[in-house]
Structure formats: structure tokens, C-alpha cells
Amino acid sequence: MTTLELDTHILQRRKLWRRVGRSAGIRIGGGLLVLIAFIALFAPLLAPHDPIAQDLTRRLLPPFWQMGTDPSHWLGTDHLGRDYLSRLIYGARVSLGIGLGVTLCAGLIGTMLGLLAGYFGGKTDMLISFIITTRLSLPIVLVALAAVALGGASLQTLAIVLSLLLWDRFAVVVRSATQGLRNREFVQATVSFGASSLHVMLRGILPNLRNTLIVVATLEVANVILLEAALSFLGLGARPPTPSWGLMIAEGREQILFDPWLIALPGSALCLLILAVNLLGDGVRDALDATTS
């Protein structure tokens, strides 16, 4: 690296950080995410009650804005008399972990497959398209049922199943985007300079997929969290009494007509988390765009 290159490199990085600092999206989104992570990390200190302690004599107490609340449970209690606020606080751990973790794993798998299929085309593409379509045709629930029958229900099983299943959108989108990019001049130029395929894919194409990847990833976070909920509710995921936002939504479902707050609260928490991820994603993307152009 020449001195000049090094200088521009450092300069770019400084510029990037300045942009990051200035972007409202990153500040709000990042702030929210840090806050949720903080809540998740220090849940034992923040929660007013034990999130799994039941009290059947104090079931379905309403939250503070309704009549007949209990001051010690200001967000009410659930159908087993567990403190809703404490469960929300602890729930951040599961939702955050599963949502981000699974998206990351699935994203890696999907991006890799999509890149290979889109870049090489031909037989590779056929094989990977075959895998993608096979995966799409298999109902997730069937796979989850079988996995649970084999390995027992747990968050780990669920995380593995979802990671191995939810890469389809990444793969599909990356594949077609790669196909579009492969024939562009700048990629072709790199190829003609004799760069290895790996180098072209990782240096030439991948950076250009950033926007698409960020979009798919932010969408996938929400998808994963809601799926975790659905599967946990069916007994195929988080083992009770583990609190998770998704599971709380699923549990509140039966009461939805009369106690909609049971869904509104974890739903709002989920909404905040997704908003944070979205804002951060968009912000980072904008900042990167501005720096490189």
C-alpha cells in the first residue's frame, strides 16, 4: 500500500465515522438497539418480579391504563399470573438473540449459495436452484416437527432449524442480483485482470449487494421473531416458561378479543426492535453509500 492509498483509506474511514455520527437513523436505531441489548443484558436487575413466578390468584390483571390495576404489576399479569413487565424485559433476550442470530446464520448460508449460483451459472446454478426450490416446497412446520421429534424441543433446536431453513430469501435475491452484476463492466474488468473467482465474488460483487442484503436482513429479523413465536406456541420452540415476545404474542392470542393488550405490549416491543434494526440498517447503508461515492 502506498502512502497515498493509506491516506485516502484513513480519510475515508474518518468520513464514514463522521457520517455515522451525523445520521439520525443510526443514532436513533443504534440507540434503541443498544437500549434493548442493555435491557436484555441486565434483565435480572431491571425486572421487578421473577418472570416465571406464577400466582394463579392474580391472573390477567389489567395494565395501568385500565380499571382495577395492581400497583405492583403496572403492566398487568398474564394468564398464569406472571408479571408482564418482567416477562417483557426478559423476553428481550430471547427475541434479540434468536432474531439476530438466526438472521446472521441464514444470511451467510443464503448469500453464499446465491453468490455461487449467480456467479457461476450453468450446473452450479441448476444445483443451487434445485436446493432452493426443494427448501421452499418443504413446509417449515414439517421440518420443525421432525427435528423436535428427534432432538426434543428447545431454543437451540429451533435456532438450528430456522437457520437451516430461512436462507431462501437471501439466496433467491442474491442470486438474481449477482446475475445482474456479473456482466457489468467493472466486474468483467476485474475478471479480465485475472482475478480469482473468489476475489471477484467477495471484492467485486458482494460490496454491491450491500443494499439488497441489508434490506433482506432487516425483513428477515421480523420474520424470524414471528416464526419463533409461532413454533414456540406449537411446542416446537422455546420451552415454557421461557419468556419470549413472540411466545407472549402467541399466548395472548386466545384472549385477543377481550384482552388485546396482552398482544399489544409484546407487539409494540417487537415493533420497536424491528424499527431499531431497520433504522440502523438504512442509516449504515446511507452512510456507506455517501462515503464511497
Binding site: 414439517l142 433467491v172 442474491v174 438474481s176 425483513l219 421480523a222 404474542i249 431497520n278
Partner: protein, 305 residues
């Protein structure tokens, strides 16, 4: 073009085979159909008899090939639960799901693509922010919640639409809205991201410099290149809608494929599950093929591939 289609056809057959085999195996792993059939009051001897009566005591591989052989001849067997031909049961529910899925897909595209384009024109602008907020909300509101709210407001309060069922066309209104809103954020955001990418590209600037009309640039040059990933994702989303949504079909008491698949899975109704999975794989293969064809048409450079 023809070799392309031929290759795709081979893939389709392979996919259908692979999926059927995997699903068959998974079904046996996840529960013994004979025990499920015997029901809650079934005793061990009942289970044994059912196993023999339905040929469930044969090795799985043999059962699979016997099923496959019949399926190839168009005989999907008899539902273990309804004791009726699978074809008639699936045939009863497929049209409902197809209608629902197609309508929802159309609605989703009509709303999300223009919204994505408008949002991309001024990234960070008021319209863009509003669209993004809608997308975030859309992702975070559980479908069954929205479905029930709509039922209570428009069905119970105002009595504008039927609460459940699809006997009349009005019965489709709410489920179509709920099914499509869930796909909108993804489609909208991808359109927006693609458009932002393309609008910044050199050739659009060139086009602008050449003084081409703004709308023409937008729709002909930019959109054409921005939609490549969108077409692929749309195909997947469409496939998901066509395969039916368990949640939406449950809430609106719609008897479509999604719920049939789900219920049949739970009661280990093997022939029905197998038939549905076969249909699903065919739908997905068709859709991905169509998506590839559209992409090739949109981007001539892909044709050499």
C-alpha cells in the same frame, strides 16, 4: 430458450422427487400415522390393526415407492382422515387458495411497487419516511391480530363484510388485505433499495444528461434494472401466498390449502400431505422458472447465461 426450459423441466421433476421423499421420511419421524389415526381413545391393538389395514407396517422405502408409483399414474390415494379420494379433497380447496393468493399478490404489487418507487425518488424525504414507517408497522403487526381487528370492526360493528367463510366474493376482501399487507414491506423496500442503487448509476445519469423525460427514465431504464431481485422475491412471495397461509385461513375460516396442509400434518394424513407438497413444489418450480424468464427478458445480458 428451449434448452433452458428443458433443463428447468428436469429440475422440476428432480425437485418434486426429492421433496416428496424427504417429506415422506419426515412424516414418519414426526409421528406414527397409525397412532394418530387410532385417536385418543385408541389402544395398542387398535393401532396394530390400523397399521396393517393401511399398509403402514411395510418398510418406509416400499411405502414411498408404492405411493410414488400410484401418484405417477395420477392416483393420489385416499385420505386417511376423510376416507375420500385425496384429489377431491385437495381439488375442493385449491381454487379458494389460488384465488385468494392471486388477489393478494396483485394487491401487494399494486401497492408496494409504486410506493417503493415514490420513496426512492427522495431518500430520506417525508414520503420515504412515511413509507418506511408503514413497512415497519406492517412487519411487526401479527397477521392474526390485524385479521381479528378487521373482522370485529368491519364484520361485527359495521356488518359490511362477512365475518368468515368465502361463500360470497365479499368474504375475500378482508383475507386478501391481510394476506397482502404482510408481503408488502418486503416488496416495497426491495423496490426502493433497487431504485436507489440504479438511480445513482452512471447510465441513468447519462440518460438524464441526454435530457430524456424523467418519467421515461424512471420507468423504462431505472425500474427495468432495479426489479431483477424484486422479480425473484416476488415469485417466492407469490408462491407462499399460493401455498396458503395457515394463520389467515384459520382466522377467516377459509378452507384452503394452507390449513389443510397444517391439519393433515398434525393428524399424519400422509396421502394428503404428500399431494400438497407435490403441488407446492410444482408451484415453486414454475414460479422460479417464470421469474428467471422475466429477468432474462428484462436484462438481455442474462440471456447469454
Amino acid at each position: 430458450m428451449l434448452p433452458f426450459l428443458a433443463r428447468r423441466l428436469i429440475v422440476a421433476v428432480l425437485v418434486a422427487l426429492a421433496v416428496s421423499a424427504v417429506a415422506f421420511g419426515l412424516m414418519f419421524v414426526s409421528g406414527d400415522p397409525a397412532v394418530v389415526l387410532a385417536g385418543q381413545a385408541g389402544r395398542a391393538q387398535d393401532v396394530e390393526l390400523i397399521r396393517q389395514a393401511y399398509g403402514l407396517d411395510r418398510p418406509i422405502v416400499i411405502q414411498f415407492f408404492s405411493w410414488l408409483g400410484k401418484a405417477l399414474r395420477g392416483d393420489f390415494g385416499t385420505s386417511l382422515y376423510f376416507n375420500l379420494p385425496v384429489a377431491s379433497i385437495v381439488g375442493e380447496r385449491l381454487p379458494v387458495t389460488l384465488l385468494l393468493g392471486s388477489a393478494a399478490f396483485l394487491l401487494a404489487m399494486i401497492v408496494s411497487v409504486p410506493l417503493g418507487i415514490v420513496a426512492s425518488l427522495k431518500p430520506g424525504g417525508a414520503l420515504d419516511r412515511a413509507a418506511l414507517l408503514l413497512a415497519v408497522l406492517g412487519q411487526a403487526i401479527p397477521s392474526f391480530w390485524l385479521g381479528l381487528i378487521l373482522i370485529v370492526v368491519f364484520g361485527v360493528w359495521y356488518g359490511l363484510v362477512p365475518i368468515s367463510g368465502t361463500e360470497t366474493w365479499q368474504g375475500y376482501i378482508l383475507p386478501v388485505i391481510v394476506l397482502s399487507y404482510y408481503a408488502m414491506p418486503a416488496l416495497m423496500r426491495l423496490t426502493r433499495a433497487g431504485m436507489i442503487d440504479v438511480l445513482g448509476a452512471d447510465y441513468i445519469r447519462t440518460a438524464r444528461a441526454k435530457g430524456l423525460a424523467r418519467l421515461r427514465i424512471l420507468l423504462v431504464h431505472a425500474l427495468r434494472n432495479a426489479v431483477l431481485p424484486l422479480v425473484s422475491l416476488a415469485a417466492v412471495q407469490f408462491g407462499m401466498m399460493l401455498s396458503g397461509s395457515i394463520v389467515i385461513e384459520s382466522v377467516f375460516a377459509i378452507n384452503g390449502l394452507g390449513r389443510l396442509a397444517w391439519e393433515s400434518l398434525l393428524r399424519s394424513d400422509l396421502p394428503v400431505v404428500q399431494a400438497i407438497i407435490l403441488i407446492l413444489s410444482l408451484i415453486y418450480v414454475t414460479l422460479t422458472t417464470v421469474a428467471d424468464l422475466i429477468n432474462a427478458w428484462l436484462d438481455p445480458r442474462l440471456r447469454s447465461a
